[in-house]
Each structure stands twice: as C-alpha cells, then as structure tokens.
C-alpha cells in the first residue's frame, strides 16, 4: 500500500507543475494591460510605463514565470493589487463558504440520486425507471443559472420561504446559515443527482445479475435486504469516483451559483478577480483550486484502493 501511495504521489508532481505553468500562462496571456487596469482610463503613457517597470511586466515571460513559481514554492502567492490582501488570506476567508456549499450540494445530490437509483435498478425498465431516467436528462440539460433564478422566484419572491441572497457564518447563526444555503445547494444538487443516479443504477443492474444475488434470492432473503446490503456496496465503486470528481466539478458550478446567490465563496472571489483583472488573485486561486482537484483525485484513488484490493496491486 505504501508503495502505491508513493507511486501516486510522484505521479502528481509533474501534474502540479503543468498546472502552475498553465495557470500562469492563462493569466499572463489574457488581453488587456495590467498597468492600464490598475491606473484607470485616464493614465498617461509615462505612468503606465513606470508601473510596468515596477511590476516587472517588461521582463520576458519565462523570467516572470520562474520568479512567480519561486515565490509560490515559498508559500507566497502574492497580494491582490486591489485590496492588498494576500491570496492565502483571501482564500482562507472564503473557502469555508465554498466547502459548505459543495458538501451540502453533494449531500443533497446523493440524497436524491442514491434512493432513486436503487428504486430504478430494482425494477429496471419499469414505468418509474423510465420516468426518472427521462427526468434525469431534463435536469442535466437545464443550465444552473436558469435553475437558480427559477428557484429564487418560486421560493423567495413568491412563497417567501427562503432568502434569495445573502449569507451568515454557521458559527454566528447556524439555522439562518443553513437557510441561506438551501437554494444554492439545491441548484447545484439538481444538476448533480442525475449523474449519481445513472452511474449507480447501471452498476446495480449489473450487480443484481450476479450469481450471488440469485443465490440470496433463492435463500428467500427480503428484497430490501438484498438491495441495500448485498447489492449496494459492490455497486458503489464507480459512485465513489463520480462523487470525487463531482466535488472538483462543483467548484466550477460555484462560480455561477455563488454570484447569483451572493455567497462570499471562492467562486465569487474568482469571478470578482476576473472582472477587475486582479491577476494575482486569479492566478493564486486557480492554482489552489487546481491543486485541490488533484488532491481530491488522489484521495479518491486511495479510497478506491481500499475498496478494491486488486487496484493497489496493479491487477485491475
């Protein structure tokens, strides 16, 4: 197992390096001159040239990358030129919001997706299965911003059940905090559950055709016991991967959802940085998110190996 962990860790290093290079290039190659952004549209060419020199923008790209990477490796991701905050401070302030949103969304997604998948698999091809499969496709094709606006109009403007926008930290008012998160998490979850449901459903249908299930049925075990105890665990291997990947993918979803529901998370930080061309924040956050994604995948690989020993021995 240790061997496996070390092998995987070594494989991550070039990925992280590539991520850092891409992040730097994306931010550096964006159109528009950072010096102009900072100085505003009334700046003179002399002011701009002086600022470009100060910021090292007149240096070659490779030199700027190496110097940026050098700082990053020492834990210095830079400071926002707008707020003076360091990237790490800004991210630390906002990460709890995004984590809570993603975890709640994934939880709600599983809460809907898993039971539906089991029910569908139990009677594959039946009316419920066909209906839910159809609904899943409908949900998948619905863009999240549209879903968000629909939910806001229904639950906030018309029914007044839940707030349209806003946030309070969980530590201050736990109940209000949860109320603020219901709609955004639901928006993301409604796009999440179809994937969960489809994967688990097909795996379970396959599992239910295994010999040992036939044996269990022959022994006269209750159908619910067969489904939940004998079929669920072996069918959930793909689900673990999907859930892991989803958490990374959800980060993308938070860009839109956090902006619409005015949640002060990483997504909003990133959108704000793009709007204001705060390239330091942009580079830093993209780098951290990409690293987070790589790490989540690593953890999923580890879980996989725990669930299925064949994987860590390299037989699968």
């Amino acid at each position: 197992m240790l061997n496996f962990v070390v092998r995987r860790l070594l494989a991550i290093l070039p990925v992280l390096l590539a991520v850092s290079l891409l992040t730097f290039l994306i931010a550096s190659l964006l159109p528009g001159d950072l010096a102009f952004v900072i100085l505003g549209d009334q700046a003179t060419p002399e002011n701009v040239a002086a600022l470009r020199r100060d910021m090292g923008l007149d240096q070659p790209l490779w030199w700027r990358y190496l110097s940026w990477l050098g700082h990053v490796l020492q834990g210095d991701l830079g400071r926002s030129f707008r707020t003076g905050q360091t990237v790490l401070q800004a991210v630390a302030e906002r990460i709890p919001v995004s984590l809570q949103l993603m975890l709640m969304a994934e939880f709600i997604g599983l809460l809907i997706g898993v039971p539906v998948a089991i029910a569908c698999a139990a009677r594959a091809g039946g009316a419920f299965d066909r209906f839910m499969t159809g609904s899943a496709f409908a949900m998948l094709s619905m863009p999240s911003f549209l879903m968000a606006i629909l939910l806001i109009y229904l639950f906030a403007v018309e029914l007044h059940w839940l707030p349209a926008t806003g946030y309070v930290p969980f530590t201050e008012e736990p109940l209000s905090n949860l109320r603020f998160f219901v709609l955004p998490a639901l928006t993301l979850a409604l796009a999440e559950w179809p994937g969960i449901m489809r994967v688990l459903r097909s795996d379970m249908i396959a599992t239910l055709q295994e010999d040992y299930i036939a044996l269990a049925k022959a022994k006269g075990l209750k159908p619910s016991r067969i489904l939940f105890v004998h079929a669920l665990k072996p069918s959930s291997l793909t689900l673990v991967t999907v859930t892991g990947i989803n958490i990374g993918r959800l980060l993308g979803g938070t860009l839109i959802v956090e902006s619409i529901f005015a949640l002060p998370g990483i997504g909003r930080l990133l959108v704000g940085a793009i709007y204001t061309r705060d390239l330091v924040i942009l580079q830093g956050v993209v780098l951290l998110v990409a690293c987070g994604f790589v790490i989540v995948n690593f953890i999923v690989d580890m879980l996989y190996a725990v669930l299925d020993p064949r994987i860590r021995h390299g037989h699968a």
Partner: protein, 511 residues
C-alpha cells in the same frame, strides 16, 4: 445657475451659505431602523494608496463613512459640508476654504486643516506611488495656514474646483491621519472618517455593517440606526432580493431594463432615476483613412437612428444625446450643432467620397458592447459603409485608445459637476486623451477660455460653440446620455439625486 456662477457674476470673492440642508423639509424624517443596500460589486477597501481609484460601490460606502469639503444639493448647486465657505483668487489659481469647527473623526481625533493637508500630501507624495495621484496633478499643493483654513494652489485655473471636489472619490473623502498611521496595512479595511456612519463590521465579499455616528456634526442627521451594504453581483437575484424584502434599495442600470420597468409598475417599489451629465461617446481616429475625410465621419453620424437604437438595447430607456453635456449638466444649448438623422444625405456623402468605406470598430466583449456594435453595423450598412466589429476586452480599450491603435473606439464622458476637466482632456490639441488626434485653433481657444471664465452664461456659450464645432467636424459622436438608476422599497424616503452614480443613503429614513 450654480453658486460659483452667482458669486462670480457679482464679483464677490466670498460667499457664505448659512443653512445646511440636504433634504427638503417637506417630509417629516423618522429616526431609527436599518436598511440593506444591494450593490453591484465587492468593495476592495478605502485606503487610496491601496485601492487607487474608488469604483461606484466604494463611492457609495464612502458617502456614508466619510465627508467631503463640499457637496451638491438637490438643485445641483455646490453646498458646504466640511468646508463652510470658500474664496478664490482673481485668476482662479488659488482657492481658500474655511473649515467647519469642532468636527471629530470616528476615532475621536479632531478634523482640522492639518488633517486635511496630511490626506492630500499622502496621496501626492511620489514615494507613496499612489494611483490616486494622477487625478490631482492639477493641484500644486495644499497649505494649512491656520487650524481651520485650507488653501489649494493649482497649476491651471479652475473656476469649478468646489464643484469638482463634491464626489465621494478616493481624492476627496477625508480620512483620519491617526487611523492610517496606527493601523498600517489594516487601515484599508478599517476606514475612519468624519461621516454620518461608522464601520462596525465587514465580512469579506458579504456584508459591511455601518452604524449611526452619535456625535455627527450635523445634529439632525443621520436618521437610520444602521446601514448594511451587500454586494449582490447578479442583476436578477439583486432584483429578487428587493422584491422579497431582503434588500431595501439596489443599484441598477439600463442593461436591466425589464426589471426597471417591472419596478415602475409595482406600487411597493420606487424607481429613482437621475438624468446625469455626460454621455456614451465614440471617437474617430482622424489620422487614419477613411476617417481622415470629414464627409465619411458626417455620413456615419447621420446614419444613426438613436431612438431605434435605444429600443434595441434598453427597451427605449436610453436617452438620445446630441452633445456631450446631458440633461444633468448646467450647460444647456439652444443650438448644439447636432447633425440630423438622414440616411439619404449619408448615402450622398459617401458617394461623394467616392471610395468604398470599410473600417473596424472596437467594441467591448460584453453582451451590451456586442449589441451596440451590431446595431451600428446595420445602420451604416444601410448608408453604404462596411464596419467590422472588433471585440476586445474592456481593459484593452484604453490601451488601444491611448496608443491610437483604432479607427473608431467607444469612450465615455462621466457625470462630473463641471464639463471642464473632461472636455479639456478630450479635445485640447496635444492632450494624451484627445483620441481623435484632431487639432483646431478655434477649439483650443474655446476650451482655454471656458476654464478661466467665471460668467456661467459665457461659459455656456463656449461649451455650446465647442459642441457645434465637434458636431460639424464629426470627430466624436454621442449616442446616449448618462442615466442612473436605483430601485428601492417605497418606504425608503429622503433619497437624494444619484450624482455620479453614487447611491448616497446617508440622508434617508424609513417611513
């Protein structure tokens, strides 16, 4: 007529305004309560050395936390705030302000001429490399001859200084020197002013809570106990927050015409709108073909159907502009020389030009920018000119404009209390901002004259002559006037005019 002009006409060097009232006393103000303001953007902070230039959301917060020396009243006239009176030298190069006595910053330290001077010096000091310094390059120095007197020494004459410094911008709001010295890097997010509200708490990206300043110098104000400022970036959910009562007033603009119109029909909501000065403008590069020929420029301007364009981009909310001043400006022209909308004349002019007219126009890579580009493209196609849209990032436009790498570029003239700063920069020969690279001695003479003339009637004549000249030469054209919107609950009263797009809630109360 503004106070400046009134004073100037009488050639009286000093004028005093005894009473200070921002709100007309027709309605009875109520004290207490709390409101939530929905803004478009996150606030980056308040220290000019850090944030450089305030955006509209920051201006809005600054209007509550800080004071400026002067302010604009409901009639658009300059009124006292931290300064109670002011005088000027004959050549308008020196302005002397008498400060209000007994005013204290939120940290208890006194506001006086020395504090004001320190604010100014800090921005101006080259060692601080403040991006804000650019905007005060016309001020040579600020002196504090005694505790309550501040003297501005200018590099160029400015008849309009008291009006120009009314905006709650990075250069004009007054910070506590003790606070920035003791707080250092933390000052940016812990601002201390003399304003009607004190910053209580600020959650990054979420809410800023401001509480009533119990020792505000204007004893009758403020009325509300608390103001909560929240960034609600999405226009749809911002409007939903207003409808569901989570926000009491929100920022809005013409891009969101549907919601503005919905609010107009809703009896529980009030639509506040201010027809400001300035306009959405476009500059031709007269050094490049085909715009080196006045016939082409005139033809393109005459081919624009502004009412139709307004319908297409904002449901008719955008107000056509025929000069760069706008309804909110004191410059009112009987004849601004606007070229009429006349497609046939445009066609004839292009035919007369004799060569195919093909060019590229810069537009910002936003849905609105694209739409404006497409509408103009259609107008010009009808007249016989082919325009290719070049979509560029918003931030690219200034750099392309300054380096004159464009044929036609969008620009803007913002809502300032006086046209001089922008008109002078945009049209005086040799100015880096004179994007058209057009030089005309008559235009220069008018611009020079307008900035040293005290008489408002004379200045109006100058600016109208400037407009006639620009329209005739068609070096720039204007499409729509600047209009500002805020939507609020009908219970919110006392909301002032939205000068420069700033939602100043420091004078409001709840019914």
């Amino acid at each position: 007529m503004t106070k400046i002009a009134a004073a100037a006409r009488k050639h009286v060097p000093i004028f005093l305004v005894a009473a200070f009232a921002l709100v007309s006393p027709a309605q009875a103000q109520k004290s207490g309560g709390s409101i939530t303001v929905g803004q478009e953007l996150d606030i980056p902070g308040f220290d000019p050395l850090k944030v450089g230039v305030y955006d509209t959301s920051t201006n809005t917060a600054a209007a509550a936390i800080f004071d400026t020396l002067t302010t604009l009243d409901e009639k658009g006239e300059v009124a006292p705030k931290l300064a109670v009176s002011w005088t000027h030298s004959d050549d308008y190069m020196i302005w002397t302000f008498k400060l209000r006595e007994g005013v204290k910053f939120h940290d208890g330290t006194p506001f006086n001429a020395q504090a004001f001077k320190e604010n100014f010096d800090r921005q101006k000091d080259p060692a601080n490399k403040c991006r804000c310094a650019f905007y005060i390059t016309n001020v040579k120095e600020v002196l504090a001859p005694d505790e309550y007197t501040v003297v501005y020494k200018l590099t160029d004459p400015s008849v309009n200084l008291p009006a120009v410094i009314t905006i709650q911008s990075q250069n004009n709001v007054i910070h506590s020197p003790t606070a920035w010295k003791t707080k250092g890097d933390d000052y940016n997010r812990n601002p201390v002013g003399t304003g009607p509200y004190i910053l209580k708490s600020w959650t990054a990206g979420d809410r800023m809570v401001l509480e009533k300043n119990p020792s505000y110098w204007d004893k009758s104000r403020p009325y509300l106990d608390r103001i909560i400022l929240k960034p609600l970036p999405d226009a749809q959910s911002r409007f939903a927050s207003l409808q569901s009562g989570e926000a009491d007033i929100i920022w809005d603009d013409e891009n969101d015409a549907d919601n503005i119109m919905k609010a107009q029909k809703d009896s529980k909501l009030t639509v506040h709108t201010y027809k400001g000065s300035g306009a959405q403008v476009y500059a031709f590069n007269t050094k490049l073909a085909p715009f080196d020929d006045v016939r082409v420029r005139q033809a393109l301007v005459m081919a624009i159907d502004r009412p139709k364009m307004s319908q297409a981009i904002s449901n008719g909310l955008s107000r056509p502009a025929t000069n760069p001043y706008g309804e909110g400006s004191w410059v009112k022209c009987k004849d601004d020389g606007a070229l009429p909308f006349d497609v046939e004349k445009a066609k004839a002019l292009l035919k007369d030009y004799g060569k195919p007219v093909e060019f590229k126009m810069l537009v910002s890579a936003t849905p609105r920018g694209r739409m404006i580009g497409q509408v103009l493209q259609q107008f010009w196609k009808r007249a016989g000119a082919n325009m290719e849209i070049e979509q560029v990032d918003q931030a690219t436009i200034p750099s392309r404009a300054f380096t004159r790498q464009f044929q036609l570029t969008p620009w803007r003239i913002v809502d300032l209390a006086d046209p001089d700063p922008q008109m002078y920069a945009n049209f005086r020969s040799g100015s880096p901002l004179a994007l058209s690279s057009f030089s005309n001695p008559e235009l220069d003479k008018l611009l020079d004259h307008a900035r040293v003339t005290a008489d408002l009637g004379q200045r109006t004549e100058d600016y109208c002559a400037i407009s006639r000249l620009i329209n005739k030469e068609a070096i720039w054209f204007w499409t729509f006037q600047n209009t500002y919107y805020a939507l609020s609950s009908a219970k919110l009263k006392g909301f002032p005019k939205i000068y420069n797009g700033v939602i100043d809630v420091s004078t409001t109360w709840l019914e």
